[in-house]
Amino acid sequence: MKYAFFHGCVIPQKENAYELSARRVAEKFGIQLIDLEGANCCGFFLEAVDHLSATLLAARNLSLAEENGYDIVTLCPACFGHLTKVRGGLLNDHELRNTVNKALRKINREIENPPQVKHFTKVLLEDVGLEKIKSTVKNPLKQLRVAPHYGCHIVKPSDEIQFDNPEDPKMLDALVEVTGAKCLYYMEEKLCCGAPVMGVDEKLSLKIVREKLKSIKRVKADAIVTVCPFCHLHFDLNQLTIQEEYSEEYQIPVLHYTQLLGLAQGFAPDDLGIYENRVPVDPILSALQQ
């Protein structure tokens, strides 16, 4: 299985461990992630400023992948969501397609048959399958109690994304359970992490993630698992800010899903970039050695 790997902006800047662990996990399943050369921002960040610009940026990425002949895989749900929405628009709206192609022709590109766009978890679930994932689990993480955080864009808007049910999502639960860890339910499971408003109102953004952390602490989770680099950054890096600002103690390690799976597959923490995480993951690692 070969895919065009779309980096996005958050991962190379702040969350390289996610890419590292995803590549390790992908190798186990014979998935080749080929860098999408020349790719730009998916366009999501421009949505608020200008919809057409955001659409054109996404379309350029889609045309690059079309040229390579591979479907796009990304680790970032915002990139996944935005590219998926633009792809849907290009397939269903001829007027939009004409506008986009008119702009793309200026750089000698064109979109004819936009490639599929997948989030890495979608590849794991649909192209690899839970059975095959289970067969690679060497050390079931039976000791771990994990709180899953789905995030927003991986499931919403559901009519355009068509991946799981946003009112009662289950896919991450299934992916966590296959590693042998116990998946916990907590009150604020479906609440947004608050990261998108960090640049506009930092205090508000921290209030939201604090509410989530409180709820996760209440169920005594050993770790939080995320599938979004931006959510991860908010839970992990800003957990330290919250502890300081509110004089509260959480110290709940935050793992990328691929790090959790990698641990279960027997990779060394270093191979998964676990020491890059800001909240120390040592308590989990020592619990796993017992």
């Binding site: 020349g38 790719a39 921002c41 400023v49 927003c152 947004c192 506009v200 508000l204």
Partner: protein
């Protein structure tokens, strides 16, 4: 709460909140711009605003509203439908939407409110009202093709972890496709002027 006093005066009282977009003065219908709602509806994604029947489910379901009482999506829609053009477009509060799509998922009328909020923001930007954070991000993308600059620091960090350098963006292609869009001219010109 909306009271109707004859044909030319509307009184809109928005209770609660910390001041943003709060109106406690009687509104004269002559102050309203009846075309504003059509302007929003003509923006891509803005079409569905006309289905709103003000049930308030978007506000009830909004994670931002839960922690910031001044943010009420229902009121932003109402103000838009009323034609409070300046109030809406110059308000800081429209920049609080987290684009989480919770409201869009649950709206009983099928209003795609997240997309409507985007349409309203896009209009505000056209009028020159851009939140500084979005201005910063927007001009970075228009000039660099991404929100960050690929530099040696990032690639060294990646090399240290055994990852390949980040693929370079063809910046010329980005500026070519964005060049003819008015908004980006505003963004890049102001960036150069800084």
């Amino acid at each position: 709460m909306l009271k109707y006093y004859g044909s030319s005066v509307l009184v809109v009282v928005w209770v609660g909140g910390s001041g943003a977009m709060e109106i406690r003065e009687p509104l004269r219908t002559t102050q309203l711009d009846p075309k504003f709602k059509f302007e929003v509806a003509q923006m891509p994604g803005g079409e569905s605003i006309k289905y709103c029947f003000q049930c308030g489910k978007c506000t009830a379901t909004c994670p931002i509203r839960r922690f910031e009482p001044a943010y009420k999506p229902t009121h932003i829609v109402r103000a838009t439908l009323l034609g409070l053009r300046e109030t809406v477009l110059t308000s800081n509060i429209i920049w609080l939407c987290a684009s989480c799509y919770s409201c869009t998922e649950r709206c009983p009328q099928g209003v795609r409110l997240t997309d409507v909020m985007r349409a309203i923001r896009n209009l505000a930007v056209k009028e020159g009202h851009v939140h500084p954070f979005y201005r910063m991000q927007g001009s970075a993308i228009a000039t660099l093709g991404r929100i960050f600059k690929e530099d040696e620091f990032i690639n060294e960090m990646r090399a240290g972890m055994g990852l390949l350098p980040i693929p370079s963006v063809n910046r010329e292609e980005i500026s070519t496709i964005l060049r003819d869009i008015e908004v980006n001219k505003i963004l890049t010109i102001e960036k150069e002027g800084e």
